[in-house]
């Protein structure tokens, strides 16, 4: 469904991605783990079209998207939940969700879609007239995910949903991600530093080191991989 081949992305002269090959199939949860500065967020931004790939191909449902503008890519069904949530803090919860529906025929199915999001994250319903900035970190993350779902994506790109969130809420959010995948049939591409959680959740996973994919395989298999355990699980893993 989403196929990335030999993608290279630069920030000025600095090369962030050194030929990434990766694919995500329909209905899967695919995780990408890696340390700080490995290029995980850059890869997501490149898929979304916010950063442009200097070379390589990104194909989504048979169509090249590497040169498309970000809003066109969202229209095609790839929506990103950016790192750090990036909630519109002075707008209310509901206005945030409204903006998520921007790409979805400018909010034609708003009433129905927002109900689905509220059913998924009931706390957002209680907070709908509150400003985004007044929510807790976990609630903001739910809002960010809900906001992205409002665009009815086929693929949801999640950038570090566990960042800066209470451990209890992290579990809840990962359960929600699984539900979104299974019940709403949304393909998930998850980027995480919390390697244990990400691998447990994933059907398949990739490890990104210095802008290159070094290891790939089913999530459970990678959990048992000695190198991964040493580098990402025993020392650095949370929970």
């Amino acid at each position: 469904m989403l196929k990335i081949s030999n993608v290279e992305t630069f920030y000025g002269k600095i090369q962030a991605l050194r030929g990434v090959d990766l694919d995500v199939n329909d209905g899967e949860i695919v995780s990408l783990i890696g340390s700080n500065g490995a290029g995980k967020s850059t890869l997501l931004m490149t898929i979304s079209g916010v950063n442009k790939a200097r070379s390589g191909k990104i194909v989504f449902n048979g169509e090249n998207i590497e040169n498309k503008q970000p809003h066109k890519i969202v229209d095609m069904g790839i929506c990103q939940v950016p790192e750090g949530r990036r909630i519109f803090s002075r707008l209310t919860v509901e206005e945030n969700l409204r903006l998520g529906a921007h790409a979805n025929e400018k909010g034609k199915y708003f009433e129905n879609d927002i109900k689905e999001v509220y059913d998924l994250f009931p706390v957002l319903r209680d907070r709908k007239t509150q400003r985004g900035g007044t929510l807790s970190g976990g609630e903001q993350q739910m809002l960010a995910i809900g906001r992205a779902l409002m665009s009815k994506p086929k693929v949801l790109l999640l950038d570090e949903p566990s960042l800066g969130i209470a451990p209890k809420l992290v579990n809840q959010i990962f359960v929600s991600i699984k539900n979104i995948n299974k019940e709403k049939n949304v393909t998930i591409f998850l980027v995480e530093q919390n390697a244990k959680k990400a691998l447990e959740l994933a059907d398949r996973a990739y490890v990104l080191v210095n802008g290159k994919v070094t290891i790939k395989g089913p999530g459970q298999e990678l959990l048992k991989n000695k190198d991964i355990q040493a580098a990402y699980l025993e020392g650095g893993a949370k929970n």
Partner: protein
């Protein structure tokens, strides 16, 4: 409060006094007087010490105030009263305001001078509302807004004097021209934010003014354009003795001729134009494009990730904001019947930005209050002549000290789900 705090704030106020002395000393203290054949210095140290003393005292009071972490009782109660009035009863307030504006010309104390001031205030309210779209909603700091005001005024003046078309045809054309210039400015600044954007827009405002001065063949340079046709009351001119075959306003309605008719008409014209601007802004805030403006102000990357096209969104904000500036400009041209580049200097942009910021970015009622306050104050202190800008500056400082987020800092949410309408 602790003794240490008092000593600290006292030291700080003395330092403020030192700065004040350095400023006021040469500026106020050394006055030059021309006596006979030469220029002499007449020092007036008394005034300087008075001013420095005031600065020290003022600073000291502010310090004590903030050290206590509570405001002066008077101010806090005043400001809380103020915000409770405007938040809870915003709608009442708006309706009363509009009603007052409608009956204003017929109130017993209203004379020609009041009407002129009211027209001026309304023009600034309209400009403030127009700029509010760009600055308040879309978050793009535009320091060259006067350029669109100028484009509107000049397009109206040129079209009306060259082709002799009526006000009602020229007005939309002027708006279209201004919107076009808005897009023209928008393109080069798409990638800029904050300070950098402000500098470029500032430059744009100056470029327009300098073109107006130097493009003599078209704009008549610094001499300006004279004889701009006055607006007619839907075809009925405001003239004492109408031309052959024409009926003028006072004859048609069987009234005694009075110059006030035209003034009152102009007043209602700008009132309606301003209200249209306001209505439009309130409506568009609830449409996808309006929400996209507000989202863009908050976070551009989040917008991109949600499929908002930042290019189009910014350009529409510039274009629509500019269009209302252009409408206000053509009103200005038809009211004055004479325009020159003099009227479109940077200080105009600064005043409009000040109105938006002091009003509380994005607040429509705030713009009204700030316009009345700022323009009203400069008018009230007209007798002070050159010192009235001091009153203007002082008013701005006071608002920023006591209401740092603007007079009305709160924005209402644009959507409430059915059932929780308040």
């Amino acid at each position: 409060m602790e003794k240490k705090d008092i000593i600290q704030s006292f030291k700080d106020s003395l330092f403020t006094g030192l700065i004040a002395l350095a400023l006021f000393g040469p500026i106020v203290g050394l006055r030059t007087v021309s006596k006979g054949e030469g220029l002499f210095i007449a020092p007036q140290w008394g005034v300087v010490f008075l001013l420095v003393g005031l600065c020290i005292l003022g600073r000291f009071l502010i310090n004590i105030n903030s050290a206590r972490k509570t405001e002066f009782k008077i101010f806090s109660s005043l400001s809380s009263k103020f915000s409770s009035i405007t938040e809870d009863k915003a709608k009442h307030f708006a309706i009363t305001g509009i009603l007052f504006a409608v009956v204003f010309p017929f109130l017993p104390f209203t004379d020609r001078y009041f009407m002129d001031v009211a027209i001026m205030i309304l023009t600034y309210i309209m400009l403030g509302w127009g700029l509010n779209i760009v600055v308040g909603l879309a978050g793009l700091l535009d320091l060259g807004y006067v350029a669109f005001y100028a484009v509107g005024a000049y397009s109206y003046a040129l079209i009306a004097t060259t082709f002799g078309w009526s006000f009602w045809i020229c007005l939309p054309l002027a708006g279209v021209f201004a919107a076009f210039f808005g897009i023209l400015l928008g393109f080069p600044v798409l990638r800029l934010r904050g300070d950098y954007l402000a500098i470029v827009t500032l430059g744009f405002g100056e470029i327009i003014r300098i073109i107006l001065i130097n493009w003599y063949e078209v704009t008549n340079g610094p001499d300006g354009i004279t004889g701009i046709p006055r607006p007619s009351f839907f075809g009925l001119p405001f003239k004492r003795s109408p031309d052959e075959g024409e009926t003028s306003f006072h004859l048609f309605f069987n009234l005694e001729y009075s110059t006030m008719h035209r003034i009152i008409f102009l007043y209602y014209l700008i009132l309606v134009l301003a209200l249209i601007t306001n209505y439009f802004t309130l409506k568009i805030r609830k449409l996808p494009v309006g929400r996209a403006w507000e989202a863009l102000r908050e976070d551009e990357i989040a917008c991109k990730s949600l499929g908002v096209n930042p290019t189009n969104t910014k350009l529409t904000a510039f274009a629509i904001g500019a269009m209302f500036g252009g409408f206000a400009g053509s009103f200005f041209a038809t009211r004055q019947a004479f325009i020159s580049p003099e009227s479109f200097t940077f200080i105009e942009s600064a005043i409009i930005v000040a109105i938006v910021v002091l009003g509380g970015m994005g607040s429509q009622t705030g713009v009204v209050l700030a316009s009345i306050f700022l323009i009203g104050i400069t008018e009230m202190f007209r007798d002070l002549e050159q010192y009235r800008m001091i009153a203007f500056g002082g008013a701005m400082v006071l608002i920023m000290v006591f209401k740092p987020k603007g007079i009305l800092a709160n924005r209402k949410p644009t959507i409430l789900m059915h059932g929780d309408k308040k």
